[in-house]
Symmetry: C2
């Protein structure tokens, strides 16, 4: 049955390629695929198959339905020698830019062959699933695969290829190549950082697992720019050319667990029964706050809790929940009262998740399923932590020392383009999946945190960025880069501060007086003051 299906598929794909060859604009791509070129390029299908499915045993990758931009970049990298492969390099060198675009477009448009690999058995599958869903951020600085390749493994745009339904042998070879340094054409060195932290057994598990997952089109790389509440288009900032300060090589990554940080119970230790279920719900809501049916109605933008609290609230230096739990209730100068932990979380919804613009129009009530689950989850993460200890190492975002050069959004724009835009997009709109799950959060505009959120402060953002960004490469930016890019991010317009009552000057003086804050003080590209928008109704 499976053999029959496969035969049928080859036939239909052959028909497809011949149809494509017969006079459509994709002629050139189809022709190269089927016949190669007269300048020594062999037909692609000789290795990748007429249906673009590759050859599992030989480790030739499936290319049908892969992102065109990703494939074109790989061909250009083979040309340039920044990706190394003895078969592909000579052929790529003989392709023109036009031919690269054509053949990449041709295969991108080809139907994705169904997956034929068998998924691995437990416990191998579990190993893979844990790495895909959670990584091992806290243990060894390893980001979850799903963070960049999307939860379904089908990738995001041209930077992060689909890996679901790819042959295991190919995936394994690539991971080993990243690890060995023989492949190094990844954005920011992210795959090197990831592969370095994987054991051989984990590489095998991931390769086998992804090979058996159904492939589909990738998530679009970038959302359209979002408007803020008053309809003002997101400002591009005041970007001028400038020199990005120099900094040393990125560190190899940190392993916070070795640094004496508190250790939450592992996900395997979750209790059974209704209490465990509540914790699980809390974890799910934390990672999917805007899209979860229960919590989504309190979220007025495209943010999740996990966007600011990495590793689902576990990561030291990323405002971990275990440190927050034992430090509340506490007095907060922000609202000049003692806040319970629940009130603190309500503050996150009000500001970072812009609850006023949500369906509910308010943060979740203390006894709502959303709140109780988040409380249960936080409590569980703090299991064993000493009550009342507000000095736990790794608490909050460790403050970043000011630099002599201060902070400058113009310098920051260059850092942003080099280090941030690959995920958050040139327009800062981030990536939100079709189902609403936020993969890379919007950094400004209507779908980002509002002007009351702590992250709008440049010092807070600089601290967060330095210790956590780029994802999987923490502490790789220089202090100066972190300050500048934080200033750039927060020089854009975002949703109104819900405490604003119509008088920008009054709001600025009452809530935004500090030097780390552009609200009411700096102008956007449209020559309007940041925050110059109506009060939230």
């Amino acid at each position: 049955m499976q053999a029959l299906t496969r035969t049928a598929l080859i036939v239909s794909s052959l028909l497809y390629s011949f149809q494509a060859f017969a006079g459509t604009p994709t002629d050139l791509g189809a022709k190269i695929a089927a016949q190669g070129t007269t300048r020594g390029v062999a037909p692609c299908m000789s290795c990748h198959g007429p249906d673009g499915a590759g050859m599992a045993a030989a480790g030739y990758p499936r290319i049908a339905g892969m992102d065109a931009g990703y494939m074109a970049k790989q061909l250009r990298d083979y040309q340039a020698g920044t990706r190394n492969n003895p078969v592909m390099m000579p052929m790529a060198k003989n392709l023109t830019d036009e031919e690269i675009s054509a053949v990449a477009g041709y295969y991108a448009a080809m139907p994705i062959p169904p997956v034929s690999a068998e998924p691995p058995a437990e416990p191998v599958a579990r190993t893979a699933k844990d790495l895909i869903e959670w990584g091992d951020w806290t243990g060894r600085g390893l980001a979850a695969c799903s963070q960049c390749h999307a939860p379904n493994g089908n990738g995001i745009g041209s930077a992060f290829p689909g890996i679901s339904g790819q042959h295991a042998a190919y995936l394994k070879a690539q991971l080993q190549a990243w690890k060995a340094g023989t492949r190094a054409n990844d954005p920011l060195g992210l795959m090197k950082a990831a592969a370095d932290r994987l054991t051989d057994a984990e590489i095998d598990a991931l390769s086998a697992y992804y090979a058996a997952q159904p492939a589909a089109a990738p998530v679009p790389a970038e959302n359209p720019p979002t408007a803020v509440a008053d309809g003002v288009q997101v400002a591009a900032g005041e970007v001028h050319s400038g020199e990005v300060p120099q900094h040393g090589a990125p560190p190899a990554g940190r392993a916070p667990a070795d640094d004496g940080y508190f250790s939450s119970p592992s996900r395997d230790e979750l209790p059974e029964g209704p209490f465990g279920e509540s914790i699980r719900r809390g974890q799910a809501i934390f990672e999917n706050t805007n899209a979860d049916p229960a919590s989504g109605k309190y979220v007025g933008n495209d943010q999740t809790c996990g966007n600011c609290h990495l590793d689902a609230g576990r990561l030291a230096g990323s405002a971990p929940l275990w440190a927050a739990w034992v430090a509340y209730p506490a007095y907060r100068s922000k609202n000049q009262k003692v806040n319970t932990y629940i009130e603190r979380i309500q503050g996150c919804f009000t500001y970072s998740m812009n609850a006023r613009a949500s369906a509910a129009g308010a943060p979740p009530a203390a006894d709502s399923e959303t709140m109780v689950s988040l409380v249960a989850y936080s409590y569980w993460l703090a299991k064993g932590a000493p009550t009342g200890d507000d000095t736990m190492p790794g608490r909050g975002y460790p403050r970043l020392k000011e630099t002599e050069s201060g902070f400058d959004p113009q310098r920051g724009a260059l850092v942003y383009a080099a280090k941030c835009a690959v995920c958050h997009g040139e327009n800062g709109a981030g990536v939100v999946q079709a189902e609403g799950r936020t993969l890379f959060p919007p950094l400004w505009g209507a779908e980002s945190y509002n002007w009351g959120a702590g992250m709008h402060r440049i010092d807070t953002a600089a601290a967060f960025i330095k210790h956590n960004m780029p994802l999987g490469l923490p502490d790789s930016l220089s202090d100066q880069e972190a300050w500048d890019v934080a200033a750039y991010m927060n020089s854009h317009e975002r949703p109104q501060d819900p405490r604003h009552e119509g008088d920008l000057k009054a709001t600025t003086e009452q809530f935004h007086g500090g030097k780390f804050d552009f609200y009411g003080k700096r102008k956007t590209a449209e020559n309007r003051l940041l925050g110059e928008q109506p009060a939230v109704k």
Copy 2:
């Protein structure tokens, strides 16, 4: 000036005593006071003064304005030899019952002389105030003086004499006599238990401090019986004569701090600033829940948090807050959901404090001052306790093993009369001060906990009673006595279960099925089933 005042007072008191002597019904008392009797009783005023003020230096007590019942009992105890004093014993032996009543009544009606002693300086005053307000329950099983002598030290009824404005030398001599065992006519041995735990320096501090406090009339011993919501008079239970099981001598008292229990920070360690203020408010509300202006509006009876959680929520074995704090959120079968700590406290208000009958008609909201303060206070008491540890020694009320004889309210009635009524009153109505502060909580009737409170369960009540009652004599009842008296207490009518919707059978089956529960099953003296009353609106 002080000498002049005193002289004036003596004169006015003499006038008063002569007036009393001149033909009123108190003639007999006045006559004995001024002249003694022909059977060898010396005039009282020869030692206690014409104004009943006693003599500070000689250690003769002030008796003017003391409770008549208390004084009469002392005279009878001198007669019987159960109170020992070489001067008083022979005179008391020569008084008739009528004379005792007359002279006690005479002095009770006499105006209280103003206090002339100077209060001690710090830190002596602080030592005394701490013992008066808090005792050292957790440290050495020492109940607060104010618990029985009332916060103002003016005593309660005839069992607990006023000690404010009493001479220091007299107070000191009495405390030393309790300690040495040379005075032993106290109810249940309560003063022996207290004095045993006091150092000589503390006895001096307390004596000096109380001597300088203004004296006033005592709090009435017993409140009138209260009706439950439907107007049904509180049932007297089904009391029959029966034999109270034997038990050994009361233990000397426990010192939980020696038993490896968790230790909360001392009251001296309270932080300054608004957070410390919130904790202080929480402590005050905890002890005065029904009367505090903030929390009182959520309380529909005469209960305080501290009535069920002794030593203001610190005491091991008395459902201490520090153990509860680290054990929530948690799933509760009672409401079949995961409850946050705040929801758990709201449950206390709903049931133990009968919030439906309160001004607010509901428990305090999660962000109310009352709730935030109680949360801050709980959190502070748990400082250093490991988050998530729901097995801390001393948590809850340690379960009491069932006895072979089961539990029987008829046997319990005798225990109650012997061991409980002195504080809670024959009618179970407890003692509520004029300002509303509950000293001894009502145990049944409209002002007690309702049928949804955990304490209505006989096993829960037996455990509480065994480990905590009588106040200052924990673990002094036998297991059998604790079971029986718990059954007696919970065989009386109390406010309706707020979950009741009008069908007693349905409520009984759904919420009151167990064998430790008389609701809907046992009849009151009026031959009505317990719980047979309308639903709460």
